[in-house]
C-alpha cells in the first residue's frame, strides 16, 4: 500500500523516525510485545513498555490508547509520560495505538474512549512508564560515566552529571536497551511537576487544526478508492424490499449500486456523485414493526408507566418512604430524544481483501469495530488493521461502529477500497439517540423544611442493553448507567426510593455526552429547586442543608455561590444553581439568565469543579465550557421527534444548535486537589439545563419540567 497512508500519517504529530531502538513493554512488565516492539527487537531494539520509544536519533514517540476528539487526550496523556521521562512535549511524536491487547491497561478489556476515563485510567500507568524509562536512561549514563546514578539528574531529554556533562536520551538509548527493566520506580512528587498542572503546555494537535492539515476520517484517500453513500430505511429497523437503480446509475460519476445490510449503496468516483446517486435511487422499503412509532405516543406511554405502581424494579432504597407525613410535592419531567450532531458526519474507509482488512475511521470504539469486522469478514484480529484518524467530534456517537461496519460491507461487496460518507441528514436520522426519559418524582417536606422522603420513578430505555448486555441481563432489568446523576447524587436523603422502569420503544439509543446524567440531573436539580421554594428556603442554602459539610459537592456549591455573587440581584438578571456529578467528578454551577419575552438568554455561567489533580488547566476550562455549551444547545431547542417511525429533523435548520451569539461567557474554577484525577469531558454538561430552568423560575415563576425550553416556554 501507499507509504503515505500508514497509521502514522493520521495520528503522528511531528516528524517521522529512522532508528532501531524502542523502549517498550507493559507498565506491568508482562504485556505481550506489540508488533512494533517485535519489529524493533528484530533490529536490536529494546522495550521497557509499549507507551514510549527513544531512538538513537533522539526521536521520541509516545503511544496513547485513546482517540482525540477534541477533549485533549493527545495533550493530557503525553503530558504524563513527558513529566516523568523529563522531555519537552513539543519534541515528542504522538501516535494512537492499534486495538491490540498489549495497548490496554491492566484490567481494561476494550480500546475505547468515553466516560471521561482517559486521564483517570492513564494517571498511574503512563507516569510509571515514563519514570521507568527515565530511570533506565539515567542508569545507562551512570554506567557510561562510571558515576553513581543518584548524583545524576535529567533535564529536557538529557542526563546531566554534577560537573554539567550531558548526554542526550538518544545517545543513551542503545545502552539503556541492554539494562533490565526495573519493577518499581518512584514517581515525582507533585511539588516537582513541571508540566502537570501548568498553563504553559500547548496542545500539540492545534497547529494542524488551524491550517487544514489535520486528517479526519473524511479526509482519508486510499489509492483506487471509491466513494459511497447509502440509502437507509427511514423507519428504524426497516429493510429493503426492492429498488430501481437505473436513475442512480445514469448520474455522472456513479459506477455501481449494491445492496448491503443497512440499505442500498451507491458507488461513485467522488462524494458528490455518490450523494446524487443516492437521491436518485428508488427504493421500496419493508418498514417493519416501527412504522407507527410516534414520540407523543411514546411520551404518553412513558407517563402511564411512570404512574403505574405495578411497573418497575427497585433500583435504590434507603430507609422507608412509606408513611412519612408532611408537605407533599410532585412533578412529572419529560426529556426528549437527542441527536449528537458532531460536525463531521459519520464516515469510514475500508479496504477488504481476501486475506486482510484495513480500516481508517474516526472512532471512539476500536475494539468494537474490530470484533464486528471479524464477524463480517471471518478474518482473525491479526489480519485486521484499524487506523484511528482525528475525530470531528465524538460525544458518544462514535462509540458505535455501525458506520464502520457499513464501509466493511461495501468494500467486501465491491472488492475495492471505499469511503462511505454520510450526509448530515443521514447523521441526524440514523443516530443512536439520547434516550427519551419520563420521570415521576415526589417528595415530602417535614415541618422544618427538610426532605423527609423522596421517590423517583424513571421510565427510560436502557443504553446498557447495547453496551453491557450480559450485566444488563444479570441485573434483572436494572440499567446501572440509567441511574447516573441519581444514584450518585450527593444529597443526604434518609428515606429514598428509586424505581427503574425499562422501556424499549424501538428507537436506537446510545451514549450522549454525560450519558443519563445529562437528563437525570435536570430532574433532580430542578426538583430540588421546587422543594426549596416549597420550603421557603434559598435554593443554595436548601441544598447545602442536605449535603455533608466539607463534601466535594458542598465545597463546590459554596465556592460557586460566592464566585457568582449568588443572591446579589442585578437588574433583569436571574440566577439558578445546580450541582452536577459525573463518574467520580463533582461540580456546581450558577447560570445568569434574562428573559426577553418568552425567550431565555444565558449571559454568564460560573462553574466550580472538583476533579482531583488538574493535569492541564486550559483543557479543563475548555472542556467545561464546551460541555456547558453542548448542554445549553440541547436545553434551548434540542429535540428529536419521531412520526410514523421516522425522525422529523434532518439538518441544522430543523435540529438547531447553539451559535456564537447565544453562547454565554463561562468562568471555570477547579478546587485545589492532589488526588488521583477523575475526568472532565462530561462533568460540565448536566448542570446547565437545571440551573437555567431554576433561573427561569426565578424570573417568571414558571417551572419547566419538559425540555427543550423553546417548546415549554412557547
Amino acid at each position: 500500500m501507499n507509504a503515505a497512508l500508514r497509521r502514522s500519517d493520521f495520528v503522528r504529530l511531528t516528524a517521522s523516525f529512522a532508528g532501531s531502538l524502542v523502549l517498550v513493554a507493559g507498565a506491568d512488565g508482562c504485556s505481550k510485545p506489540s508488533q512494533t516492539q517485535q519489529d524493533f527487537a528484530a533490529n536490536g531494539g529494546f522495550s521497557p513498555n509499549v507507551w514510549l520509544s527513544v531512538r538513537p536519533d533522539n526521536t521520541i514517540t509516545f503511544v496513547i490508547n485513546r482517540s482525540e476528539m477534541g477533549q485533549g487526550v493527545m495533550t493530557g496523556l503525553p503530558t504524563l509520560l513527558a513529566e516523568e521521562l523529563d522531555v519537552p512535549l513539543s519534541k515528542v511524536t504522538i501516535e494512537v495505538a492499534p486495538p491490540e491487547p498489549s495497548y490496554l491497561y491492566p484490567g481494561q478489556k476494550e480500546m475505547n474512549t468515553g466516560g471521561s476515563t482517559s486521564m483517570r485510567d492513564s494517571w498511574l500507568p503512563l507516569r510509571q512508564a515514563g519514570a521507568i524509562a527515565r530511570a533506565m536512561l539515567v542508569q545507562a549514563a551512570a554506567k557510561q560515566w562510571g558515576a553513581d546514578p543518584s548524583t545524576l539528574r535529567t533535564n529536557a531529554g538529557t542526563v546531566v552529571d554534577a560537573s554539567g556533562r550531558t548526554a542526550t536520551y538518544g545517545s543513551l538509548a542503545t545502552a539503556a536497551s541492554q539494562l533490565p527493566v526495573p519493577q518499581n520506580v518512584a514517581l515525582k512528587s507533585p511539588d516537582k511537576f513541571t508540566l502537570i498542572g501548568k498553563t504553559t503546555v500547548q496542545r500539540p494537535d492545534i497547529p494542524s487544526k488551524v491550517n487544514g492539515t489535520a486528517k479526519y476520517g473524511i479526509d482519508v484517500v486510499v489509492p483506487g478508492m471509491k466513494y459511497a453513500a447509502i440509502a437507509r430505511c427511514p423507519v428504524f429497523g426497516g429493510k429493503v424490499k426492492s429498488f430501481d437503480a437505473s436513475k442512480a446509475k445514469a448520474i455522472h460519476g456513479v459506477t455501481g449500486v449494491v445492496q448491503v445490510p443497512t440499505g442500498v449503496a451507491v458507488i461513485a468516483n467522488n462524494t458528490w456523485a455518490a450523494f446524487q446517486g443516492k437521491s436518485a435511487l428508488v427504493v421500496e422499503w419493508d418498514e417493519g414493526p416501527n412504522a407507527h412509532l410516534n414520540s407523543e405516543d411514546m411520551f404518553a406511554e412513558g407517563q402511564r408507566f411512570a404512574r403505574d405502581p405495578s411497573k418497575g424494579v427497585v433500583a435504590l432504597q434507603r430507609g422507608n418512604v412509606k408513611g412519612v407525613n408532611g408537605k407533599a410535592i410532585e412533578g412529572m419531567y419529560l426529556g426528549p430524544l437527542l441527536a449528537h450532531a458532531a460536525m463531521e458526519p459519520e464516515n469510514a474507509t475500508a479496504d477488504v481483501r481476501a486475506d486482510s482488512v484495513e480500516i481508517w475511521a474516526p472512532t471512539q470504539a476500536q475494539t468494537r469495530a474490530l470484533r464486528r469486522t471479524m464477524k463480517i469478514t471471518g478474518l482473525p484480529a491479526e489480519k485486521i488493521a484499524i487506523h484511528t484518524t482525528m475525530l470531528g467530534g465524538g460525544f458518544g456517537r462514535r462509540l458505535q461502529s455501525d458506520y464502520i461496519e457499513e464501509a466493511v460491507e461495501v468494500s467486501k461487496a465491491i472488492g475495492a477500497p471505499v469511503k462511505v460518507q454520510w450526509t448530515r441528514e443521514d447523521d441526524t436520522q440514523h443516530d443512536f439517540y439520547r434516550p427519551m426519559s419520563v420521570n415521576a418524582i415526589a417528595a415530602v417536606l417535614d415541618e422544618s423544611g427538610r426532605i423527609a422522603a423522596m421517590t423517583h420513578r424513571i421510565v427510560a430505555e436502557a443504553t446498557g442493553r447495547e453496551y453491557r448486555p450480559k450485566q444488563f441481563g444479570q441485573a434483572h432489568g436494572i440499567d446501572g448507567s440509567a441511574l447516573r446523576g441519581i444514584s450518585d447524587a450527593p444529597y443526604d436523603l434518609a428515606n429514598y426510593t428509586v424505581i427503574y422502569i425499562e422501556k424499549e420503544y424501538g428507537v436506537p439509543v446510545g451514549s450522549w455526552r454525560a450519558p443519563d446524567a445529562n437528563w437525570n440531573t435536570f430532574v433532580v436539580e430542578s426538583f430540588m429547586d421546587e422543594l426549596a421554594h416549597a420550603a421557603g428556603k434559598d435554593p443554595v442554602e436548601f441544598r447545602l442543608a442536605h449535603l455533608q459539610p466539607e463534601s466535594p459537592a458542598s465545597l463546590a456549591l459554596k465556592s460557586v455561590a460566592q464566585r457568582a455573587k449568588w443572591g446579589e440581584r442585578q437588574s433583569g438578571i436571574y440566577q439558578g444553581a445546580a450541582i452536577m456529578v459525573w463518574n467520580g467528578s463533582t461540580g456546581a454551577l450558577v447560570a445568569d439568565v434574562s428573559m426577553n419575552g418568552k425567550t431565555p438568554k444565558v449571559h454568564h455561567v460560573t462553574a466550580v469543579v472538583h476533579i482531583g489533580t488538574v493535569v492541564n488547566p486550559e483543557i479543563v476550562i475548555a472542556q467545561v465550557r464546551g460541555a456547558i455549551n453542548f448542554g445549553l444547545s440541547a436545553a434551548l431547542t434540542g429535540k428529536i421527534t419521531v412520526k410514523n417511525g421516522r425522525v422529523q429533523q434532518a439538518n441544522f435548520d430543523t435540529y438547531t444548535v447553539l451559535q456564537m451569539a447565544d453562547a454565554p461567557s463561562i468562568d471555570v474554577y477547579a478546587l485545589p486537589s492532589q488526588d488521583h484525577p477523575t475526568g472532565i469531558g462530561e462533568l460540565g454538561l448536566p448542570g446547565i439545563a437545571p440551573a437555567m430552568g431554576n433561573a427561569i423560575f426565578a424570573a417568571t415563576g414558571k417551572r419547566v419540567r419538559r425540555l427543550p425550553f423553546s417548546d415549554s416556554l412557547a
Binding site: 476528539m69 477534541g70 477533549q71 485533549g72 500547548q202 496542545r203 494537535d205 492545534i206 497547529p207 494542524s208 487544526k209 488551524v210 491550517n211 487544514g212 492539515t213 489535520a214 486528517k215 479526519y216 473524511i218 479526509d219 484517500v221 466513494y227 455522472h252 460519476g253 467522488n270 462524494t271 458528490w272 450523494f275 450532531a341 458532531a342 460536525m343 463531521e344 458526519p345 482525528m390 475525530l391 470531528g392 467530534g393 465524538g394 460525544f395 450526509t423 448530515r424 486550559e618 475548555a622 465550557r625 464546551g626 460541555a627 455549551n629 453542548f630 444547545s633 439538518n651 441544522f652 435548520d653 444548535v657 447553539l658 451559535q659 456564537m660 451569539a661 453562547a663 461567557s665 463561562i666
Partner: protein, 154 residues
C-alpha cells in the same frame, strides 16, 4: 470542463459544472482542509474566500468559481503565520478542530471588512457552528488578532 484558480494556482478540471465547489476542491483537486458539515450552507464548515468574500461552498456550483479568485484554508497563509492563525494558536481555540477551517475563513473575511469588530459584530458575522463549543475562545482570538493587526500598522 471548469477552470478554477485556487490559492493562486490554476486547475483545469473535468467535472460537471453543477458539482459544488466544496466537492471539486476536496475530492478532485485534493485539498481536504475545507470540511463538509451539512450540504445546505447552514453550518459554515465549507467556508472559502471567493474574490475575498467568505462563502459557503457546499451549495455553490463549480461554474460559479470560474474566473474568480478562490482561497481555501490551505491558502490563508503559506506557513500558518497570519495574525488569525497565530491568535487561534495563542488562544488554543480548536478542540476537535473540524469546524475551525471554516471559522478561520469567516473570521478572516470579517477582519478584512471590519478590522476592529465589536462583540456584536462578531455575533453577527460568525454564524459558523462549533459543536465543541469553542465560541468564547474564537471571540477572544478574533479580538487578539484585531489588536495585533493594529499594532502592526502602528
Amino acid at each position: 470542463m471548469v477552470t478554477l484558480t485556487i490559492n493562486g494556482e490554476q486547475h483545469k478540471l473535468d467535472v460537471p459544472e453543477e458539482m459544488p465547489l466544496l466537492w471539486v476542491i476536496r475530492d478532485v483537486v485534493g485539498l481536504t482542509g475545507t470540511k463538509f458539515g451539512c450540504g445546505m450552507a447552514l453550518c459554515g464548515c465549507c467556508t472559502m474566500h471567493i474574490d475575498g468574500q467568505a462563502m459557503r461552498t457546499c451549495v455553490l456550483p463549480a461554474s460559479y468559481g470560474s474566473g474568480k479568485k478562490i482561497t481555501t484554508i490551505e491558502g490563508l497563509s503559506p506557513d500558518s503565520s497570519s495574525a488569525l492563525q497565530k491568535a487561534w494558536i495563542a488562544e488554543q481555540v480548536p478542540q476537535c478542530g473540524y469546524c475551525q477551517s471554516g471559522q478561520l475563513m469567516a473570521a478572516s473575511a470579517l477582519l478584512a471588512q471590519n478590522p476592529r469588530p465589536s462583540d456584536a459584530d462578531i455575533d453577527n458575522a460568525m454564524t459558523n457552528i462549533c459543536r465543541c463549543g469553542t465560541y468564547e475562545s474564537i471571540r477572544a482570538a478574533i479580538h487578539r488578532a484585531a489588536g495585533s493587526a493594529d499594532k502592526a500598522v502602528q
